[in-house]
């Protein structure tokens, strides 16, 4: 790890917040702004949910947190490090602090289940011997409840739920400080949705101190499992707080969103 990334990891413990966004604005064409001044602080160790209608900028905001997008103006600070101060190599190394479960699981389709989980370890733990890497990968797969019999199957040979579990095991491989779930239950049936929700909670509880951030359309799940909720609307934070704050909110849009979301 580079010096500055190492420094950021050192300062992480001192910061009360895992992610801080200060007046973050983003425009792709220089005219229209997708993010119109996001101010947000996600407490360290929390299980946060980012909710909002489609096209409100949730995914764009998430990509700013990951350093995949640079803000047009404003600052993104993760674990005490302002991402704009890192060069490309430092940013690449800094991303070892994240584990991400993508909507589609994004498994490498030419690698088996266990090879997918071993991949980040082989990339970043080059001092580990192959047996140790295999042991860790198997442990992560057990942790997410995936039977060992599937280890040598390709992603196309396992179910959607198993793919999500594999994706989560891969996200956990490097023991990241921040776990991000990008719409983890979109397109899944209710049983699988509940399974993934439970998996997120169990994973969060099993790793105290880890900050989990979930972007979701699923309001019920967000209210059920998250202890910090952020609602975006038209590129701005409409409300952030606990589920109770949302139930008590007088903001019309929040009320409508909560009512509709809880009915379905």
């Amino acid at each position: 790890m580079s010096d500055s990334a190492t420094n950021s990891a050192k300062t992480a413990g001192k910061s009360e917040y895992a992610v801080v966004l200060q007046d973050v604005k983003k425009s792709f064409d220089g005219k229209e702004f997708v993010l119109k001044g996001i101010d947000l602080k996600i407490p360290k160790g929390s299980l946060a949910a980012i909710i909002g209608f489609s096209g409100t900028g949730k995914s764009v905001m998430l990509k700013h947190m990951l350093g995949l997008y640079e803000p047009t103006s404003g600052h993104v600070t993760v674990l005490g490090t302002d991402l704009s101060t890192l060069d490309n190599n430092e940013l690449t190394q800094f991303r070892c602090n994240y584990g991400v479960l993508f909507q589609s699981a994004a498994l490498f389709d030419d690698m088996t289940v266990i090879e997918n989980v071993k991949f980040p370890l082989e990339e970043h733990r080059r001092d580990f011997d192959p047996e140790k890497i295999t042991r860790i990968a198997e442990q992560k797969l057990r942790m997410v409840g995936l039977d060992q019999m599937h280890n040598h199957k390709l992603p196309s040979q396992i179910s959607g739920g198993m793919q999500k579990r594999t994706g989560l095991a891969r996200a956990l491989a490097l023991d990241p400080e921040i776990l991000i779930y990008d719409e983890p239950t979109t397109g899944l049936d209710p049983i699988l949705t509940e399974m993934v929700d439970n998996l997120i909670v169990e994973t969060h509880r099993a790793r105290p101190g880890t900050t989990s951030i979930m972007v979701s359309h699923d309001l019920k799940a967000a209210f059920r499992i998250a202890d910090f909720i952020v609602m975006l609307d038209a590129g701005k934070v409409l409300l952030s707080g606990t589920a109770d704050d949302f139930y008590k909110s007088e903001i019309e849009l929040v009320r409508r969103f909560v009512d509709k979301g809880m009915k379905h």
């Binding site: 990951l66 991400v100 993508f102 909507q103 498994l107 389709d109 990339e123």
Partner: protein
């Protein structure tokens, strides 16, 4: 008065449109070439960065090189047969059939070998590269690599370009050899040219530099289709439709570039020979 003003306005608009078409099109072309050039430089530099991607290079060499051997062998033999027959028919008119061998050899070693190998391999392996990278892009696999702290250009692009550069001369050498086998078969077994004459004429006319010229060209073609196809795949957007478009554009651009650049390379090599005194 107002009618003439309208006509002037229309003519002015037409001129604007024509200007935009040519100048705008040219500017877009220059911009695209610049972007691809920067992509090529950045990716090539990463080849020497740590960690080493040796196993990836071997994997892509196996795909680009090894898996192209069959198709190159088949096409080269028939190219040698067809070209030799046409040259034979022409030379028969001037009673110079003994020169079929060296004429075909020049054509194969310097032009057809590298160009046809470039076209075949860019269609087969270049298309597959663009499609594979495009699929990785739209399926979020590249985002996954990014957030895992893996440099996607170093892991996915640089090994593919390097493998294309290394494999192309080897495949061209195979093409050259098999095309000459085809030519030999036609000349000595079908149209009755003596084996010793066929071999002797080639030996007298062809020098190592003629073969090397084609091999150098083929390495440049490998670099070109490697860069173009990986660039198109890497910058894919728009789901399955986008992957199809990226693959199509990557292959078409590679093929056109190979044919166009071949002409300029031919001239550059000729000038090099004259300047260095190797040939007149």
């Amino acid at each position: 008065m107002s009618e003439s003003t309208g006509i002037v306005q229309k003519i002015s608009n037409q001129i604007d449109n024509v200007y935009d078409f040519f100048v705008g099109g040219f500017m877009n072309f220059v911009r695209e070439v610049g972007t691809v050039g920067l992509f090529a430089i950045e990716s090539t530099k990463l080849l020497f960065a740590k960690p080493s991607r040796f196993s990836e290079i071997i994997k892509h060499m196996e795909f680009i090189g090894n898996q192209s051997v069959g198709i190159i062998t088949l096409t080269s033999v028939f190219t040698g047969l067809a070209l030799s027959f046409q040259v034979y028919l022409g030379f028969k008119l001037v009673n110079a059939v003994n020169l079929v061998g060296p004429t075909v050899a020049f054509g194969i070693f310097r032009e057809l070998g590298p160009v046809l190998t470039g076209l075949i391999v860019s269609a087969r392996a270049g298309g597959a590269m663009a499609a594979r990278l495009g699929t990785m892009r739209v399926n979020e696999q590249m985002d996954a690599l990014d957030v895992m702290g893996v440099n996607t250009k170093q892991y996915l692009i640089a090994p593919r370009i390097f493998a294309a550069v290394v494999c192309m001369p080897m495949l061209t050498a195979l093409f050259d050899f098999m095309a000459m086998v085809g030519s030999w078969f036609l000349c000595t077994k079908l149209v009755g040219i003596d084996h010793a004459v066929f071999m002797e004429k080639i030996r007298n006319a062809v020098e190592f530099r003629h073969i090397a010229e084609g091999l150098v060209k083929s390495a440049i073609f490998g670099f070109m289709f490697g860069v173009i196809c990986t660039y198109k795949g890497f910058n894919t957007s728009g789901g399955a439709k986008g992957v199809g478009e990226a693959t199509n554009r990557g292959v078409v651009m590679s093929m056109v570039s190979i044919i166009v650049i071949d002409y300029f390379l031919m001239n550059i090599i000729r000038i090099f020979y004259i300047v260095t005194g190797i040939a007149q």
